[in-house]
């Protein structure tokens, strides 16, 4: 007997599967509708229904479909096939998985988890009780979660004598509400879950209703077609290279969200704006696919060795580009234990990027029951609000109405996902102009055939930017020259660039007549931007660059980093007293420049910039 069974690859028969979620106010009949669907589609274990009914009769309590689901859960606890968090049933057309969201207090968290995976939703409203707070809240959440196919079941019609007016009234009011939150119900169906009216059979009790039954309606839902016709978007999950195993492919990996991509397409990555051509679409244990489409976890190699990292969004040149900003206007739903407040640092995850963010404005908090607005400056648990966030770094995204998938994010508070949001607008921030230049520059960049990696190998160093700053009086240039000399003597390709070298030539058109160095120079931002641009050219040439400028602030360092690729490797503050909010890597006292220079050199070597052994 052989140890390992080597199975031949073979095609497998598969049915279509659709995930649906069922939501609604507590006691409006979710369990009852699920129980009915399972019972009437013969999806229950044999004899189960009779057994539960019999049990109820013996204990003289009225039968409930919820008991049936509980009984299934008990069985499941003993390991028999049915999964309570997910009920399975099938029609001739396809298999269904109903994602039930258990729990009352925790319902919203579970509902969001379930609904986000669903392609369609059933929303249950009690005909007798009418529209309640959670009927509207859940409807609103479905719209934010991007669920387009919603069938509203007006349940317990038996309790209102199958009265058409009651149904029409709820239908009218709820449709108006849905319209306000931007979704259109696919349909309304009057049902009685308990008696089975219009669940799988047309009801004789409601001859006035000519529409579909719930089951027919489910089969009419579209299986989410692949969004292949939208612009290509793939958040980069990682760039993989497994050279130690003798594999020299450098693969940009991720899951395609929308659009399609094939070998030969030009890809542009945002927010960096870098571009290259797709060489191959990669896979494992399968022939190379012609293209990658939405939903596929894929990967591709590029023609050029451009440096990109996790968090960027891959797009296809010629299609709509991503937006880039540091300030976004959003609609947020909050599930956190603590309120969402201003002046606190949160993390925002969008696609595969993660950025610190602060809430800077609560525009309005929406009351879930009547959609009226409240003025508050925080967002409480289970509330929905329009908010503006300030982000620490550039992110690439789309507005939610342009592309739902790349237009949404989650918020992390204290290590937990505490809320979700969609981006409805962007606000111009102070870097918008600089960034637009950079993106355009990268797009138009005339690439050399000698890539960065090749230069690094030849020069035995990585390009790196060292920024020396300090107050006016400190002798930054002296230190810069010393660093330049030390590295040069050690065989590095190094260059000292003072802001003065830029001011009189490159900046001649904007040079202030009196004090060039003054922080109040109205053109200071532009001077620094141009310094960054010159630095970028030298970095691209493979240099280690030492730059000096007076009293740089954290914002100005940010702006330089927006301009140069790769970002600075170290910021040195020279002098005892730090007079700006800059975050430095090294602080040095004035005086012994030789010693100071060797500290900087040591830092570069630790950061992997210099490969030459230190002399």
């Amino acid at each position: 007997m052989s140890l390992i069974k080597q199975t031949e690859k073979a095609d497998v028969k598969q049915r279509e599967v659709m995930n649906i979620v069922i939501v609604g106010h507590v006691d409006h009949g979710k369990s009852t509708v699920i129980g009915r669907l399972l019972a009437d589609t013969d999806s229950l274990p044999k004899g189960k229904l009779d057994q539960v009914r019999e049990n109820c009769r013996r204990n003289s309590k009225p039968f409930e479909y919820a008991f049936l689901l509980d009984a299934l859960k008990d069985e499941q606890a003993q390991g028999i096939t049915i999964d309570a968090a997910r009920c399975f049933f099938k029609t001739k057309k396809r298999n269904y998985i109903i994602l039930d969201a258990p729990g009352h207090i925790e319902f919203l968290k579970n509902m969001v988890t379930g609904a986000a995976n669903a392609e369609a939703a059933l929303l249950v409203i009690d005909a007798q009780e009418g529209i309640m707070e959670n009927s509207t809240r859940h409807g609103y959440l479905l719209s934010m979660l991007g669920i387009k196919q919603v069938a509203v079941l007006v349940n317990k019609m038996d309790l209102v004598e199958y009265n058409q007016e009651v149904y029409e009234d709820i239908k009218k009011n709820y449709a108006t509400f849905l319209e306000k939150v931007g979704i259109q119900a696919t349909c309304f169906i009057p049902v009685s879950g308990f008696h089975g009216d219009n669940i799988t059979r047309h009801s004789e009790n409601m001859p006035w209703y000519g529409g579909d039954t719930v089951l027919d309606r489910l089969d009419l839902f579209h299986s989410a077609g692949l969004p292949v016709d939208m612009p290509f978007r793939m958040p980069v999950q990682g760039v993989y290279k497994f050279t130690q195993d003798g594999d020299y492919r450098r693969i940009v990996a991720g899951t395609v969200e929308t659009g399609r991509i094939k070998a030969g397409d030009t890809v542009v990555f945002y927010p960096s704006g870098k571009k290259s051509k797709v060489k191959t679409i990669e896979t494992f244990n399968a022939p190379e696919p012609d293209e990658a489409v939405p939903g596929m976890a894929t990967g591709f190699t590029l023609e050029d060795q451009i440096y990109i990292t996790r968090g960027e969004i891959a797009t296809v040149s010629g299609e709509a580009p991503c937006r880039i900003s540091r300030k976004i206007v959003t609609n947020v739903f909050w599930l956190g234990k603590h309120d969402l407040v201003k002046d606190k640092e949160y993390l925002i995850k969008i696609g595969t990027s993660k950025i610190s963010a602060t809430l800077i404005e609560v525009v309005k908090v929406m009351n879930a029951s009547d959609l009226s607005n409240e003025a508050k400056d925080y967002v409480g648990r289970h509330e929905v609000a329009e908010c503006i966030f300030d982000l620490k770094k550039d992110i690439a995204f789309d507005l939610n109405n342009e592309n739902p998938v790349t237009g949404r994010f989650v918020i992390i508070d204290d290590y937990e996902i505490a809320g979700g949001g969609i981006i409805v607008d962007q606000v111009k921030d102070k870097y918008s102009r600089v960034r637009d230049y950079v993106v355009m520059r990268n797009l138009k960049w005339e690439k050399s055939i000698i890539g960065r990696d090749l230069r690094s190998v030849r020069y035995k160093q990585k390009p790196a930017l060292v920024i020396i700053t300090g107050d006016e009086a400190s002798d930054k240039k002296e230190l810069a020259r010393e660093v330049e000399k030390l590295l040069f003597d050690n065989g590095e390709y190094v260059y000292f660039l003072g802001i003065g070298n830029v001011v009189y030539g490159v900046d001649a058109d904007i040079r202030a007549t009196q004090s060039d160095k003054s922080l109040k120079d109205p053109n200071r931002q532009e001077h620094i931007r141009r310094l960054g641009e010159v630095a970028n050219v030298l970095l691209d040439a493979g240099m280690i660059l030492v730059v000096t400028a007076v009293e740089l602030t954290a914002d100005e360092i940010d702006m330089i980093d927006t301009t140069v690729v790769p970002p600075h490797i170290c910021v040195v503050w020279l002098g005892d007293k730090v007079t700006t909010d800059v975050k430095y890597d090294i602080k040095l006292a004035e005086g012994d420049y030789k010693k100071n220079a060797s500290i900087i050199r040591k830092h570069l070597s630790e950061r992997g910039v210099i490969f030459n052994p230190l002399l």
């Binding site: 080597q6 279509e16 195993d245």
Partner: protein, 297 residues
């Protein structure tokens, strides 16, 4: 032009996405490999995710009562796939004969000692880990004792009750405790990848798969599996593999993957739990919830 993805395509891509997220977010990451069909499919998905490579160690908890073929199969695939293979075990309990087969304790207690304890301590690095030397194929004591902060585990939601309350990324605190009631929400392909120092996260890429999905994928991909899963002519096969003193085969004529799929889809097994051959489950009425709260897989 591709206009639809099949159910298996979608399951595969989601799992691959999750495994890649785990890889990007956890520095000390490992994957548990029980040698069974589920975790072997998961190993295969890791190779899919990284285009033939597996960039993190595979950890096997060796109870020393595994059916011997399983260990042979493990080491063979480890060499073939160039895996970074690690195992750990409860050496003390085995040495002092404190196990169920030695007559020292109940099955459940034995599971606790040989699996739960061994797993906890192997992951934490508090007990010896043995790592396969890729050159010689021989296991050596691993000098790395850093705890794993991310552990990829092949549980499926349809297996038992407690597992269906899981999330893809499920935090455990310092004591491996698991708060069933208070699971973080997961949506839009975003998972809990941030965690307080001292906690670790279990990652479950197979949560959406069913038993039949697993077999169909094995068929589609041609994944090698242990022959114990198949009827070898005696009308019996294992549906779930564990330690030999506590695992028994089921009656079945299925001797190929196709026949197993047919058997599962026919519904003849639908009233028999997948793990019915696993004796320890019967001692733990809570559907393994008690064991699992303690860190059992």
């Amino acid at each position: 032009m591709i206009n639809q993805l099949t159910h298996l395509d979608r399951l595969e891509s989601k799992s691959v996405h999750i495994i890649r997220e785990a890889y990007s977010n956890f520095k000390n990451l490992c994957m548990l490999w029980s040698i069974g069909k589920d975790s072997t499919v998961m190993l295969w998905l890791a190779r899919k995710a990284f285009f033939g490579h597996v960039p993190f160690p595979l950890v096997h908890v060796d109870t020393a009562y595994k059916i011997p073929e399983m260990i042979e199969y493990r080491d063979r695939l480890a060499r073939e796939y160039k895996l970074d293979m690690i195992y750990g075990q409860n050496e003390e309990a085995l040495r002092d004969k404190k196990t169920f087969p030695d007559g020292d304790c109940s099955r459940i207690e034995c599971c606790k000692r040989l699996k739960t304890e061994a797993l906890k301590n192997t992951l934490a690095g508090t007990w010896k880990r043995y790592r396969m030397n890729k050159e010689t194929g021989i296991y050596e004591v691993d000098s790395n004792t850093e705890p794993y902060t991310g552990v990829i585990v092949g549980v499926r939601a349809d297996e038992e009750g407690s597992r269906s309350k899981e999330r893809y990324f499920s935090p455990r605190d310092r004591n491996n405790d698991w708060d069933v009631g208070d699971q973080p929400p997961e949506f839009w392909n975003q998972y809990k990848t941030d965690f307080a120092p001292g906690t670790h996260v279990r990652i479950h890429p197979l949560l959406d798969w069913t038993e039949v999905d697993i077999w169909k994928y094995i068929q589609r991909e041609g994944i090698p599996t242990v022959s114990l899963y198949y009827n070898q002519g005696d009308g019996k096969r294992y549906r779930s593999l564990g330690c030999y003193p506590c695992t028994s085969p089921i009656q079945s004529q299925a001797s190929s993957v196709a026949e197993i799929i047919e058997e599962l889809e026919s519904g003849i097994l639908s009233n028999i739990a997948e793990r019915s051959g696993r004796e320890q489950d019967k001692e733990d009425g809570g559907g393994l919830e008690d064991l699992r709260k303690d860190g059992y897989m």
